[in-house]
Point group: C2
Chain length 302, copies 2
C-alpha cells in the first residue's frame, strides 16, 4: 500500500483515558488501522500491543492518519492538542477529517472547527453520554455537529463506538446539545435531592414519595435512577461529581457568553463544587443529596 493510500485508511486517536482507551480498542477490533497518542504511556503501550501504531505527538498522528478522533478531558487539553507547532492544525492535510468526541466548550468548538475549515479539513464535534460502560460496550449516545457531508464521513466510526447517533446541526451543535443535557441532568438531580431530603426531614417515607411522584409530572429518568441511589445512599459512580462540575463550568461560561441567565445551573454547580471541595468529587453526581439531607436516611420512615 502506498503511503498516501495507507494514510487515507488510517484513523488517528488522541486521548486514551477512561473513555478513550476502550473506544480505541473497539475501533481496532472493528478492523480499523489505528495510530494512537496519549499523554500517559501505559494505555499507548497497551493499544500498541493490541495492534495500533504509536505516535509521539499530535503532529505525528496528523502525518499518519487522514481521520483523527480526539477524546480529551477538557477544553484546554483539546486546545493544546490542536494548537502550536506540534499540534493537529499545523499538520492537518486538506480533505482530512477531525472528529472531537470530548465534552468541551461549544464556542471554542466553533472557533477550532472554523480553523480546520480554513485549512480545507472537515470537523465534527461528537460528544457522548453513556459513560465508561457505554464506551466499553460501544453503546454511547453521540450528539453530533458538523456539515452533512462531514457527519456522513464520521458516521461509520460513530457506528462502531455508539448506539444512538443524532446529527443535531452545524459545528458546535453537538457540544450545545451535550451542554443542554448536562444542565438538565444536573439541575434535575438537585431538584430530586431537595424534594427527597424534604420528605425525609418531614419524617415521611421517601420511598413512597418517589413512587407517588413517578406517576405524574414529576416523573423523570433522574427521579427513577438517581432518586433510587439517594434512597439507598449508594453513591459509587456512575458519573463523578467532579466531572459534572467540569461540565457545569463549561455550560456556565457558554451561557454567560450568550447572555442566557442560568441561575438553577449555578445552584447545581455550587453543589458539585462543594462535593469536590470536601473530598467527595469522586462520588456519583447524585451525591448532591448529601448536601441537602439533614441527617435522616431518605429510605427510613419515622
Amino acid at each position: 500500500m502506498s503511503e498516501p493510500a495507507a494514510r487515507a485508511q488510517t484513523v488517528g486517536f488522541i486521548g486514551l483515558g477512561i473513555m478513550g482507551r476502550p473506544m480505541a480498542h473497539n475501533l481496532l477490533r472493528a478492523g480499523h488501522r489505528l495510530v494512537v497518542h496519549s499523554r500517559s504511556r501505559p494505555p499507548v503501550d497497551e493499544l500498541v500491543a493490541a495492534g495500533a501504531l504509536r505516535a509521539a505527538s499530535p503532529a505525528e498522528v496528523a502525518e499518519a492518519a487522514a481521520t483523527v478522533i480526539t477524546m480529551l478531558p477538557d477544553t484546554p487539553d483539546l486546545e493544546s492538542v490542536v494548537e502550536g507547532p506540534d499540534g493537529l492544525l499545523a499538520h492537518v492535510h486538506a480533505g482530512d477529517l477531525v472528529v472531537d468526541m470530548s465534552t468541551v466548550d461549544p464556542l471554542a468548538t466553533r472557533r477550532i472547527g472554523a480553523a480546520f475549515g480554513e485549512r480545507g479539513a472537515g470537523y465534527v464535534d461528537g460528544p457522548v453520554s453513556g459513560g465508561e460502560k457505554g464506551a466499553i460496550e460501544g453503546t454511547l449516545s453521540i450528539m453530533a455537529g458538523g456539515s452533512e457531508a462531514d457527519f456522513e464521513r464520521a458516521r461509520p466510526l460513530f457506528e462502531v463506538l455508539g448506539g444512538t447517533i443524532v446529527h443535531v446541526g452545524p459545528i458546535g451543535a453537538g457540544q450545545v446539545t451535550k451542554a443542554a443535557n448536562q444542565l438538565v441532568v444536573g439541575v434535575t438531580i438537585e431538584a430530586v435531592a431537595e424534594a427527597l431530603a424534604l420528605a425525609a426531614a418531614a419524617g415521611v417515607d421517601a420511598v413512597k414519595v418517589r413512587q407517588a411522584l413517578l406517576g405524574g409530572f414529576a416523573a423523570s429518568r433522574v427521579l427513577e435512577v438517581h432518586g433510587q441511589r439517594m434512597l439507598d445512599g449508594a453513591f459509587a459512580p456512575g458519573f463523578r461529581a467532579r466531572l459534572h462540575l467540569k461540565d457545569a463550568r463549561i455550560i456556565e461560561h457558554t451561557a454567560a457568553e450568550l447572555g442566557v441567565p442560568t441561575p438553577a445551573l449555578a445552584v447545581a454547580l455550587d453543589g458539585f463544587r462543594a462535593l469536590a471541595d470536601s473530598g467527595r468529587g469522586e462520588l456519583d453526581h447524585s451525591a448532591l443529596y448529601l448536601l441537602r439531607s439533614v441527617g435522616r436516611p431518605a429510605g427510613e420512615e419515622t
Copy 2:
C-alpha cells in the same frame, strides 16, 4: 330518615372554586347527599340548583354533615374555615371525618389534624394534582396522609374524585408529597427552560435538542410536555405560574422550618414571582422560559 342518620350520610363540601366546583358536582352525580358552602355565591347557587343543600357557614356544614371535604386556595383560607366560633373545629362531632384536599402547609396540616384528633374526629389530607381537567373528569391524582382507618373511610369519596390514589403515610404525608412534587416539577421546568434557552441562543435547533435529550438521562415528563410548550411559545394554562408561586412559598416555608436547604426551589420561586410581578402570573408555569430566553423563539433554527 332521622336527623343523626341523615347527618351520617351527608357529605359537606367547603370551597367551590375552579377545582372544588366540579369535584362537588361529581360527588352529587355519584349519588352523595351534599351540603355546600363557599365564599362566593354563584357556585353555591349552581350546586343547590343541581341538588345540594346550602350552608351559610362552616359551622352549618359541620352541623349537617359527618364527613366534610375542604378545597381551599391556601393555608390561611383553611385556617379561617377551621378556626373561630363559626369554624369546623368548634362544631365537629366526635367520630366525624374531615378531608382537606387543598394544597397547604404540611406543618399547619399536622397542627390542624391534631386539633381535630383532640375532639375525637378523624383527619385526612389529600391534596391533588391533575388540575381543572382532572377535577372535571374525576381523574385527579390524590396523595393522602392520615391513619389507615381514616384513609379507608375517605377512600370511597376519593374514588369518585380521582384516578390514582396513594396513601403515603400519617397526617401531613399527603401535603409533604405534594410539596415534593411541586418542588421537582417547578425546578425541572426551570432546568428545561435554561437548557432550551441556551440552545436557542446558540443558534441550535431546540426542537432537535429536546428530541435528543428525551433519549437519555435528561428525559422527563416536563421536558416532554412543558418543553414542547416552550418550543411552541404556547403558555395558555395548564397550571398557572401564580399558583405555582403559592405552592413554592409553602414549600420554602416548610423547608425552612425543617432546616432543609432548597436553593434550586428558591430559583424557581423567584421566577414564578417575576412572572406574577410582571403581569404574567396567569400564564402556564412553563412561561419561566420567557425569563431565560434571549429573544430567539426556541423552535427557530438560524
